[in-house]
Amino acid sequence: MITTKSVIVAGESSATLESQWRRSSFVATLNNAQTAMRILGRSYMEVGGVAVVLYGLTKSLSLTVAILLGAAIGIVAISALLSYWFLKFKISSAHIEIMSGVFKRAHLNIPFERVQQLSTAQPLYYRWFGDFVDVMIDTAGSDDTEARLPAIRQHELAQLQQLIAGRPHAASLDEPYQSQAGVDGHVRSEENSDIIFKQNASSLLLYGVFQNKLLWYLAIAIGFFEKFTEALSNIKHRLPEQSVFLTELPMVDVDHITGIAVAMVFAGLIVFLGISALLSFMEHYGFTLRRTSDGYLCTEGWLKKVMHRAAKRKIQGVVIRRNLAETWFGRQNIIIDQFGASNVTLPCVDSAQITPLLQELCPGHKLSSVSLQRGNFLFVVKNWVLISLPLCVLAYAFANAGPMNDDTKALTYFTLCVSIGLAVFHFLRWYRRAYAHDGQYLYLRRGRLVEKTMIIDKHKLQSASVGQNPLMKKLGLCTVTLYFSTGKFCIPYLPYQDGLALANSGMDAVMRSNKQWI
C-alpha cells in the first residue's frame, strides 16, 4: 500500500510519497501469462522444430500434442508467476525504482524529471478484479517504453501522475489534476481536454473488414483447394448411403464436390471477414482523440482499454495510409508518427473528417494543392532489364533444357511467375513513389498495394544524400535519400536539378529553423 502526504503550498498542491519495496497486484500474473503466450506464439518455428523431434520419438500425434500443450501451460504458468514474484517497485518523492528480471536482474532508477509520458493499458480481466491498469513509462532517452508497472490501481496511478507533474522539469506532461478530483482524477482530466476526433461503431467494423488479410486467406484457399476437394471426396465416399447428410440436403448433388468446396470457401470467407470486423471493433471501441496541453491523447479498446499519448515535440510526421478497398470506399487511416513512442492510428477516417484533422495535425499544409512528382520511368526499365529479363531468359532455358516433364514445367512456370511478379512490383513501386515540397513541409508518397502519403515538417530532417551513377549522370538524373528519425525515404531517378533543390531546401530548413526536432 502506498501512503501519501499532501502539503498545500501557496495554492498549489504537491505530494510527497513514502513507499517500501512492493510487488504489484497478483492480477498481474494474468497479463504476464498473456505476454508469455504471445512470445510462445511468435516462436512457432522453434515450437515446430520441437514438435517434429517429439513426433519422431513418440510416433504418436496425440501424445506429441499432449506433451506440447502440457509443456506450454507449464511454461506460461511458471513464467507468469516468476515475472510477478521478481518484479518489485518503490516510489519515492523524486524517483521510481524498479527491480525486475528472473535470471538477469535489472535495477532501474527513473527520476521523475526524466519521465516524458505515462501510457496505460487495461485488459478486460483487470476490470473483473478491481480497477487495475498497466502503466508504461516513457523517458527522454529511450527509443521505446523505458519501464512498465503492471496491475497498479487507478488511484495509485493518479498519485504517481501528480508526483511527476509536480516536478520542475516535467514540462511535457499534462497539467496535474486537482487533488480533490479523487480516485479517477486522471480520467476526469482527460474529459476536460478537447475532443477532436471520435470514431463510431460502423466505421470501426469497416476498418476491421478493410484490414483483414483477405489476400492471405484467398492464397491459402487457392493453394490448398485441390487437397480440400480430395478430402471432401474422401468424406463423401466414407458416408453410408442413408446418411443424415444426404437426406438433410436433398438438393445437393454429392458428386459436385467442387461446387461444395467453393461454397465452403466463400462461407469461410464471410466468417473470416466477420471475425476480423468484430476483433477490430473490440480493439478500437470508443476511439477518441483529445487535444491536451502538450499534444494529443487517444483512448480506445473494449477488451483492453488503452491510452496512448502523442506529445507534439515527439511527433515527426503524419502518414495517411490506405489500401485498395479503403480507396474505393473513400476511407483512410491517419497515423501520427512519433519518435521514441508508439504511433497513434486514427482508423477509417472518411473524406469529410480528414481535412480538419490534417489541418489540426499539420497546420498550414498544402497536400490537396501540391502536385506530387514521380521519378523517371527509366527506374522501372532498369529493374526490368536487370532483374525480370534475366529471369525470363532463365525460364526459357528451363523450358528448352530437355524433355518437358512435371518438374521442368513447374520450374519454368515458377520462374516466369517470379519474373512477371517482380516486373509488376517494380512498376507499382515507381508509380506510387512521388514527392513534393513547399516552404514548410515535405510530401512523400510510397507503397505498392497500400498507399502511404507522409507529411513531414522540413526541419525534422536528420540527414540527406544525393547519388548518381554514370547512366544517371549522362541523362541528368539522380537519386535522393532523405533520413528522418523514424526512417528514410528514397526517391530514385529524379531530374538532377530537382533533386539538388529538394535536398538543399531540406538542409536550409534545418539550418534556418530554431525549432528542435524533438
Partner: protein, 173 residues
C-alpha cells in the same frame, strides 16, 4: 575551430573544397579485401574436399566455378575499390559534415551539426597498425561514417564538432 560556411553557399551541387583521405586508407582497405577473399577461398577449398567425398555433382560444379572465377572477381573488385577509395573525400565546417564516396555510383551525404546526437572515433584491427580511425557522426536515423582518417585528425574533428554543438546548444537555451 571549424570554419563557417560562406553566405549563400548551398549544401549539394557545389564544387566544395573537400579533403581527401591518405593513401594509407586505400592500402588498409586492400589488405582487408585480400583477407576477406582469402577466407572465402579457404572456405571453398574446404567445401571442395568435403563435397568430393560425398561425390555430389551440383556441389562440385558450383564450388569449382567459385574457385575458378573467384580470382577474377577478386582482381576486378580490388581495382575498383582502389579507385573508389581514392575518390572518397569529406568536408567538415561549423554547419554540417559531408562525405562523398563511390566511383561508379557516387553518393554525396550531408548531416547538419544541429542534428548530430553523438560522435564516435572507432579503430578497427586493420586500421590500428596504420594509425587510422573511422569517424562516425550519429544522428537520429542515420550514421555518417568517414573512414580512414588519421587518429589525431579524427579526434581533433570530433572535439571541434562537439564544441560547435555545445556552443549552439548553449545559445539555444
Amino acid at each position: 575551430m571549424l570554419e563557417q560556411a560562406a553566405t549563400g553557399d548551398v549544401h549539394f551541387g557545389t564544387v566544395w573544397p573537400f579533403q581527401s583521405l591518405p593513401t594509407k586508407f586505400q592500402i588498409a582497405n586492400q589488405i582487408s579485401i585480400g583477407l576477406m577473399f582469402l577466407a572465402l577461398w579457404l572456405a571453398v577449398q574446404v567445401g571442395l574436399i568435403l563435397v568430393s567425398e560425398k561425390d555430389t555433382v551440383t556441389g562440385t560444379t558450383l564450388l569449382r566455378a567459385a574457385d575458378d572465377f573467384g580470382v577474377y572477381l577478386w582482381l576486378i573488385y580490388t581495382v575498383y575499390r582502389w579507385f573508389a577509395d581514392g575518390l572518397t573525400c569529406y568536408r567538415v565546417n561549423a554547419d554540417e559534415v559531408s562525405l562523398q564516396k563511390g566511383w561508379l555510383h557516387r553518393v554525396h551525404s550531408t548531416t547538419p551539426l544541429k542534428r548530430v546526437q553523438n560522435i564516435e572515433v572507432v579503430q578497427g584491427v586493420i586500421y590500428r597498425p596504420f594509425g587510422l580511425a573511422e569517424l562516425r557522426v550519429l544522428s537520429a536515423g542515420h550514421a555518417l561514417k568517414i573512414p580512414g582518417l588519421p587518429v589525431k585528425e579524427a579526434e581533433r574533428i570530433r572535439l571541434e564538432m562537439m564544441q560547435c554543438i555545445n556552443g549552439e546548444a548553449h545559445d539555444h537555451h
